[in-house]
Amino acid sequence: MATRQTQSLAKLMRAPAIILLLIWMIVPLGMTLYYSFLNYNLLNPASTSWAGFFNYKYFYTDPAFWESIWNTLVLVLGVLLITVVGGILIAILIDKPIFGQGIVRILVISPFFVMPPVAALIWKNMIMHPSYGVFADIAKFFGMQPVDWFAQYPLFSIILIVAWQWLPFATLILLTALQSLDGEQMEAAEMDGAPALQRFIYLTLPHMARAITVVVLIQTIFLLGVYAEILVTTNGGPGNASTNLTYLIYRAARLNFDIGGAAAGGIIAVVLANIVAFFLMRAVGKNLD
């Protein structure tokens, strides 16, 4: 009896926080859903009318739509590939005791502290710029034609920038996993005649599987919504070559002032994110139990 009272009291005490969070989530989602069925343009806000599924049809038939979804997937997978592989390698590297280990580790982690637009601007103007970027200098030093990164490889350039930002996160998580690897297991494998590469494949990788899962899940959530890096570098161009779904929605809302269309895009993005999450959890979620 006392337990049941405590439980209902606990529910009562929890309620305000949960209700607040629910409102926080439901109201914007509901409003987006509502707007997505309206003809609502900021250039002419007075004349809004019911649109039915027109906004969805309009967004879906936009020639940029499929390209943006493809770009979103390429961006997410590209960054995941670079950060997981690079993260494992860097983690193994800085796991070894070296002189100045503390400083090295802080330096490795530091890109994570740089805000995305700042990082993207630095890459755009100081590293990838075709006339005074570092890459251009390197190309010239070897007597080659400098690459105009954002014109020639726009999506790859964005992947590079975003990967640079997320590499520290992956490294950090994977490093902690690596540090919890039992040294005696490694020695046992050494006695069993496993060379370094085999020890990595049969012991280190399985040991890190859970950490890799965490990195993939968390990064996917954030990478589906990459936006600032595109805004300050390519503006989604040339053409739609570096437009992802988030940026397409931004374009509808802020460049075309089409609130209804942008809201419909937002709902589509939510559905897509859930589909991705569903498959992701099925594919890698078993590592988490």
Partner: protein
């Protein structure tokens, strides 16, 4: 196959010299136990033999060939670790087969050897389980299984029983001895427990601070300890040491008498004392006694011995069972 020779093996970590120089011969098929208090360098010595640590100077030979600079895999030895070091994400079967897989042995042969090892070690019904689903004793057996499938030149055991409870430890002790009798392979076994050393070994190597104090069969060490350290370390409970006048009467700086070598009397004897705690085990009674000369000794009486806390008691060492030591601690 399986003789190991250490020649003047030295090991230092930076400035700290852990093993100042050890010469040792291990014959083929011998069960050798390295025993000593913690920090005496016994595990380091084992790891040097395994190749997990590099020697600072000196040479290690296995079957007559110099393996000082060879990697652990090249030495043909198998090791059982204190933590068992099983691969947690592999089934028992895959754990045992791992060294064979690394040696690129054909699948069929792997299956055969794993099945054989599983039969010897009673692991048949656990082959598909993960190490996390096994008890301590079963994990221990998997670790041994992983060692025996390779048919190594010698087995190295690094305190393999210290994580098991007392009853299981006694069982595994017998199982490992049995295994040695069946396989007849050289085994080197590190422990701090002198009971394990006495019960299992063909040859005991007593170590202290990296020095070999004495090498010999268990009974040799028991009957003829080379010095006070070995005398005190081997035997349970420990040997009693008496210095001063009592020892001078026997013509030594220190005399040692094992608890089981006292004649007890309530009326007369050489060393009078007062009974403290009496531990009644049924088969034996261990008496903690404060002698009048200030020394604390332990005496064993067979069966029941009816004395109580505070009673007077007289102890006399049995004839020919007195160990005499000089001022330098060496047996005189």
């Amino acid at each position: 196959m399986g003789s190991i020779t250490l020649k003047n093996v030295r090991k230092a970590f930076g400035d700290v010299e852990v093993i100042p120089g050890v010469d040792l011969n291990i014959n083929e098929g011998e069960f050798v136990v390295f025993v000593g208090p913690s920090g005496c360098g016994k595990s380091t010595l084992l790891r040097l033999i395994a190749g997990l640590e590099d020697v600072t100077s000196g040479t290690i030979e296995i079957d007559g060939s110099d393996v000082t600079d060879a990697g652990p895999a090249k030495r043909g030895l198998a090791m059982v670790f204190q933590s068992y070091a099983l691969y947690p994400h592999m089934s028992v079967k895959k754990n045992i087969a791992f060294p064979l897989k690394m040696a690129k042995m054909p699948e069929a042969e792997q299956e055969k050897r794993v099945a054989h090892a599983a039969k010897i070690l009673n692991l048949d019904s656990y082959l598909e389980r993960k190490p996390g689903q096994l008890s301590g004793g079963q994990r221990q057996r998997v670790a041994i299984g992983r060692a025996i499938v390779r048919e190594p030149a010698a087995f190295l055991f690094d305190e393999p029983l210290s994580n098991l409870d007392a009853a299981l430890r006694v069982n595994m002790r017998v199982e490992i001895s049995e295994l040695h009798n069946n396989l007849k392979t050289t085994m080197i076994y590190v422990t701090h427990d002198q009971v394990e050393a006495m019960t299992m070994a063909d040859k005991i190597v007593v170590l202290r601070a990296g020095h070999v104090e004495q090498v010999g069969s268990p009974m040799e060490l028991y009957a003829k300890p080379a010095n006070k350290f070995v005398a005190g370390f081997i035997g349970s409970p420990n040997m009693n040491f008496i210095e001063g006048e009592g020892a001078a009467k026997h013509g030594a700086h220190t005399i040692g008498v094992r608890p089981e070598h006292w004649s007890l009397s309530t009326s007369e004897g050489e060393f009078p004392g007062t009974v403290g705690v009496a531990e009644h085990l049924g088969s034996d009674t261990f008496l903690h006694i404060d002698l009048d000369n200030g020394t604390h000794v332990i005496a064993r009486a067979e069966g029941e011995f009816a004395v109580h806390h505070g009673d007077r008691i007289f102890l006399t060492p049995q004839e020919g069972r007195i160990y005499k030591f000089g001022k330098d601690g060496l047996a005189a």
